[in-house]
Amino acid sequence: MAVQLDARPPVAPAPRHSRPVRGARLSRFDTKYSPYLYIAPFFLLFGVFGAYPLAYTFWVSLHDWDLLGAEHPFIGLDNYSQLLADPDFWHSVVNTLGIFVISTVPQLLAALWLANLLNRQLRARTTWRMAVLVPNVTSTAAVAIVFAVLFGREFGMINWLLDHVGVSAIDWKANRFAAWVAISTMVDWRWTGYNALIFLAAMQAIPRDLYESASIDGAGRARQFWSITVPLLKPTIIFAVIISTIGGLQLFTEPRMFNSGTNAIRGGPLRESQTVTMYMFENAFAPHYNFGYGSAIAWLLFALIAVVAAINVLLLRRLGGGSRKEVSR
């Protein structure tokens, strides 16, 4: 039925003169509204599971909402003003951004490089391509538990290896930067392969003749990669960056499982590796059970993600724009 869009006569029929037939009216209705009907299921589901919780969270954030309390007095934007002046919140924002930067930048570069390797003629190509995805399909909790043990202060393998090369043991969980690095390793282990496959798919769409003419002009592999592959991958890179931003700023399982014991949700005694989502959880659930405050954190996190994603896209646009000119030259 959607085909009717194409089947529309080039000249619009003059409705005044011809008597409106029932079928024609129906078909006009169909043309006009059925596309909306087709996309309606998504928006209905989004409304129920996306927009409604979003709005409700905002409503909750305007109240002094004790999770178990019977009454929830309205307090306007108090939660937000309190939150903006809360040093622990900003501490968690810095943690989140720090982990995001030191995980995403090397991760996307490594993914790009991996994709480039996978794009060459290899034996057992499909096996390699599937293999890089394996870390992504293992359970995050399992990965995090294994990594938390690897990064143990006294019984961890990493410190054992460091000891062999003469580096003294690092208290990974009680050192802010070390904790960021350890968590970033987990994130990268999980997501590099996934992004590599996305880049690979985009790479395969680049016409071969571009490379052929480049090599005739004397461009080496590296030059081809930076001057042809990367610029033409720009939309895909933007996509990967946005997805990584959303995931990276909502990071929860890895840092939560990395910390164990009492109050793991704090991410260490001085909140060394507490991300925003962990801080949200700490406030909305144990030990504070302050649902209103937690909801306010959720909304500010939403705003933060939007801002960071916008900055990323702007930066990438500028970068990509420069190299595109180079190509067309």
Binding site: T126, G152, F155, G261, N283
Partner: protein, 435 residues
């Protein structure tokens, strides 16, 4: 071409298998639909030792089926889950275990629970230590939220083999005489540390801090972070400061192994024999056995706690209003918290009864713990239990305790000086209490 597709198939299968492995990890155990016989769900954390009691109860009540959830889980994971279930009005078990620290918070919203006084619980008052009974009551005394299960009388558990290695006595009477006070305990620790056995003297300063605090508070004011009018007194209660200063002595002398309590490393440290003593509320004996494993059987023993007495922990059983089988659940809770039920639990996993009848019962008094070198646990714990001095807990006790213990931890890890740590503790506690 054939080999190619087969290889591809193998690769796909590999990924699929890994994915399957990941998802099966978190299969949910939904309770079966209860037509006919009633299924009662009991939510617990740690080890309550009810398995045998369930069998007995089901045998005498053929129409009741009991399912326990959360066995062995961490209190830190359990509490928020239970709170969410209560808030959502759905999901909680028919009988739920509540730790005393959390009970204070639930008391502020008693509408979530069945008032056990409406169901004949008033007659059971004599079955519990007075203070344990009173803890289960709301502030106005009109609603009974929970029936007491256990109390946390204290002792000091120690490794005989490590003590021998350091040239210290290993006999429990002799060890008890080594440390009448916490100052003596620090001195023994210094002797132990000087011998360089490769193990620390104690597991973590935070656990010891909480032990000293509850003991000091019990022996003096009767409250710790909050006074009995619910004013926050972290900075002004001498008991808190005293416990803090004693803990600082322990840290200064380098006695702590700095294993964050309940963390993976803490559990590993048990297995690897990395510390020699641990403050030991009655319920901790089960934890030690679980963490140190069968290999360490007979290497542990139990001595008196330095200082005098003290109570840490202990729980209650409550019936949420959302339960669809309230009458049956109340019956079960009464059975499990009866003197008989408490004796049964003690035998299986060691939680110390809160019922005076059970505490006087030969089954408890004469009991020995094989894992702890046949230590007379009944004598060690039960004798003190009747004279336990409870510590009052204020509304945000848990959140405040978290802040103070974290401050202790930062000093232990060398991130803060004792003075900075104290300033942090007071400031952060005030912030947490205001949330």
């Amino acid at each position: 071409m054939l080999t190619f597709t087969r290889r591809r198939l193998a690769a796909v299968a590999l990924v699929a298998a890994t994915a399957l492995l990941g998802t099966t990890g978190c299969g949910g155990g939904d309770e079966p639909a209860g037509d006919g016989p009633v299924t009662l769900t009991v939510d617990v954390f740690g080890q309550f030792g009810y398995a045998d009691l369930y069998q007995e109860y089901m045998a005498s009540h053929p129409d009741v089926k009991i399912v326990e959830r959360g066995t062995g889980s961490n209190l830190d994971e359990y509490s928020p889950k239970l709170t969410q279930w209560l808030a959502a009005g759905k999901g909680a078990g028919d009988v739920v275990a509540i730790e005393e620290g959390l009970l204070v918070e639930y008391k502020a919203n008693p509408q979530n629970f069945v008032n056990l006084l409406d169901h004949g619980a008033a007659d059971l008052k004599g079955n519990f230590l007075d203070w344990k009974w009173n803890q289960g009551l709301t502030a106005d005394g009109k609603q009974l939220i929970g029936l007491g299960t256990d109390v946390g009388g204290m002792a000091m558990c120690y490794r005989k083999d490590l003590f021998a290695k350091a040239g210290l006595p290993t006999d429990r009477e002799a060890v008890s005489k080594l440390w009448p006070t916490w100052q003596d305990y620090v001195k023994v620790g210094e002797q132990f540390t000087a011998k360089k056995t490769g193990a620390a003297f104690l597991d973590a300063a935070t656990n010891t801090f909480n032990t000293i605090l509850l003991q000091t508070a019990g022996n003096t004011s009767g409250y710790s972070y909050y006074d009995t009018s619910n004013n926050l007194v972290v900075g002004s209660n001498p008991a808190v400061r005293q416990a803090y200063d004693t803990t600082m002595d322990i840290i200064d002398s380098g006695l702590s192994g700095r294993y964050g309590s309940w963390s993976e490393e803490w559990v590993s440290a048990f297995k690897q024999s990395k510390f020699a003593t641990i403050a030991c509320p009655a319920w901790m004996t089960g934890v030690i056995e679980g963490n140190a494993g069968p290999a360490a059987k007979g290497k542990w023993d139990i001595a008196q706690i330095p200082g005098n007495g003290g109570n840490w922990g202990g729980s209650f059983l409550a019936v949420p209003k959302q339960s669809k089988h309230q009458a049956e659940a109340i019956e079960l809770a009464k059975f499990l918290t009866s003197a008989k039920g408490q004796i049964g639990a003690f035998k299986l996993k060691g939680p110390l009864p809160s019922s005076p009848q059970a505490l006087a019962d030969p089954a408890i008094v004469d009991s020995k713990n094989a894992y702890f070198s046949e230590a007379p646990v009944g004598k060690i714990f039960a004798e003190g239990a009747k004279n336990l001095k409870p510590v009052y807990m204020g509304p945000k006790n848990q959140a405040v305790r978290t802040e103070v213990e974290n401050a202790v931890r930062t000093v232990e890890l060398g991130k803060r000086s004792p003075q900075q740590g104290w300033t942090d503790a007071v400031a952060n506690a005030e912030k947490a209490a205001a949330k």
